[in-house]
């Protein structure tokens, strides 16, 4: 087994293990930490498949922003988990029914799934030689850049509008203009002249003002 093969199995096993721990851990903080580990393992799998841009994106966006946000929410919010679990037995039958239906469905799809017969295609990672060959062509970021603003300009623009809506929403729902607080106004400060603030008074000796 090559180095790439060993790395693949290591990352694959850690992805599945920590993925399971996310839903099995009793302490929500541990769940989030396992989630972060899962993301990092998946990033490793992406690198092995030659998708290095996606791997970095996963680390930066999911580990760097989303998971840390989760961690803050979990640690800051005082959620009573015992109370959340109290309805578990009551809803269990419905959950089991939905779960079984989904499981049967997924089973049907897996049964219809045809693996490629070519062993080269079936291999879920790139060998060392293939990776070296990959370096010759444009890298991931370049390849994305070539299509993102040409073939996919339509989606790119809609994504921009979606982000604009998200921004407007965040401002509408949380921003409150508070009255009666002392706010700094740099414009006023800069426009202030010496005459507005300081008065030079020549005081005669012995008289006072």
């Amino acid at each position: 087994m090559t180095f790439a093969g060993i790395a693949f199995w290591a990352f694959a096993i850690s992805t599945v293990t920590f993925g399971l721990l996310v839903i099995l851990a009793r302490n929500p903080v541990h769940s989030v930490l396992c989630l972060i580990t899962t993301f990092i393992s998946v990033a490793g799998l992406f690198v092995l498949m030659g998708a290095e841009y996606l791997a970095f994106l996963l680390i930066i966006v999911y580990v760097g922003a989303v998971a840390v946000l989760f961690l803050f929410v979990v640690m800051m919010l005082d959620v009573d988990f015992a109370e959340l679990k109290s309805g578990f037995a009551e809803y269990l039958p419905y959950g089991v029914i939905v779960g079984v239906v989904l499981l049967v469905n997924i089973g049907l799809v897996v049964a219809a799934w045809q693996l490629p017969t070519d062993p080269q295609l079936a291999q879920p990672y790139l060998t060392g030689a293939e990776m070296t060959a990959n370096l010759e062509g444009p890298n991931n970021a370049e390849a994305l850049g070539m299509v993102l603003y040409t073939d996919y300009i339509h989606y790119f623009q809609i994504a921009g509008m979606v982000l604009l809506v998200a921004m407007i929403g965040a401002i509408i729902l949380t921003f409150r203009e508070r009255k009666g607080i002392k706010k700094q106004n740099p414009g006023d400060q800069a426009a202030r002249k010496r005459e507005d603030a300081v008065e030079v008074v020549s005081v005669q000796t012995g008289k006072g003002i």
Partner: protein, 482 residues
Amino acid sequence: MQLGDNISFAFPEIWLAISAMALLMIGVFIDSKYHRFISFGAIFSIFVALFLVNFGTASENASLFNGAFVTDGFGQFSKSVIYVAAIFAIILSDRFMERERLARFEYPVLILLSVLGMSLMVASTDLISVYMGIELQSLALYILATFNRDSRRSTEAGLKYFVLGALSSGLMLYGMSLIYGFTGATTFEAIAAGADEANRIGLIFGMVFLISGLSFKVSAAPFHMWTPDVYEGSPTPVTAFFAAAPKFAAMAIFARVLVEAFPAATDALSDWQQVIVLVSILSMVVGAFSAIAQKNIKRLMAYSSIGHMGYALMGLAAGTSQGISSVLVYMTIYLIMTIGTFACILMMRRPEGMAENISDLSGLSQTRPGLAIMFSALMFSLAGIPIFLGFFAKLYVFMAAVNAGLFVLVVVGALSSVIATYYYLRVVKIIWMDEPAPEFERDAGPGVKGVAILSTVLIVAGIVVIMPFLNIAAEAAAATLF
């Protein structure tokens, strides 16, 4: 095709996007007492978009951005109806938002952005652009539902809508990824071409998830749970908007996805037909039975909309050109009725606040005879009683379903229609026969009154005024899908 050529076909959407951003900037910088003008600006820009869709380059047939966006008769019809519904929604909000101290310039801007999302959605022939369009319009709608952020009910409505909407988007994306995985394509044309016996099960699996997600967006049973709470909690003009334009847009893309990506030619019709028949039957039954016990008029309208979506899906289940045309006719007429009803609901106001209970309507015929007549006419029309426009809507979908041989569906539809008539007529009975409740205020404003009168006139005189024209337009629009 060069990018410049593409752009001229997408002028209505580009215009909407630019005007939304411009109005946003103007709104930020002008004094709050001029914020009404942002509403006028939004209405004006939707009017311009309506003109561009029907009389510009955008009215020609074309497929752009590698099949992500098309302009055709179907899209043109849907966009026109959506734009008109959005204009009415902005008109309805005028006085209400001021009285409830919600008048903020972001409201028309968000409506514009969600209209942009719907416009992109009904014009897309690619799974990715379908999803992006749906997200753009839904995100704006989640914010609109929460617009009254100091009210518990409104924030609850927004949060419920957001969480369940995200879940349904997840289901839909999962379905889309399976469809992509089994056919190797995201454009509808290529999906239809890539379907064969070998990948049939996987494709059906993906399609069912896609249908689930879209059923959520049109609030068809069993994905209707969010509808009553969101309708009740959101500010009433927002509910009026929810009930009209987004429903039409979701139904239009529903029809386009199923007909274009899973056409009868590939034997996929029988696969999705049975799912749609089931969803349609469930929606009609849930709509008919759950509405009986409702005390709040907005919740009643929510269940009524679930039922009506069931009837519209009946036309879709037929899967023929006639069926799709009947869906378009049904949705357009439903839109007229629902906007009229919400205009009447907006007039239910007492000095202490908005009245939302059905019992508040009692004896309306003695205190406000004009409003009582309009309300009753709208209820008769929603029930589908002949002469009124609602009857013809039902007639067309029933005809389409009979021609497609879906007799069980037609029988269930007829029975649930009878049951639904009970709760519509109960409202009429409360209005005309019960002891009068305190009178409503008379300051709803010219916009709301005008919309109520216009839609009442349309549903009463519709058979001569709009039916002949609407029918031809819908048939022409539906024919472009086949």
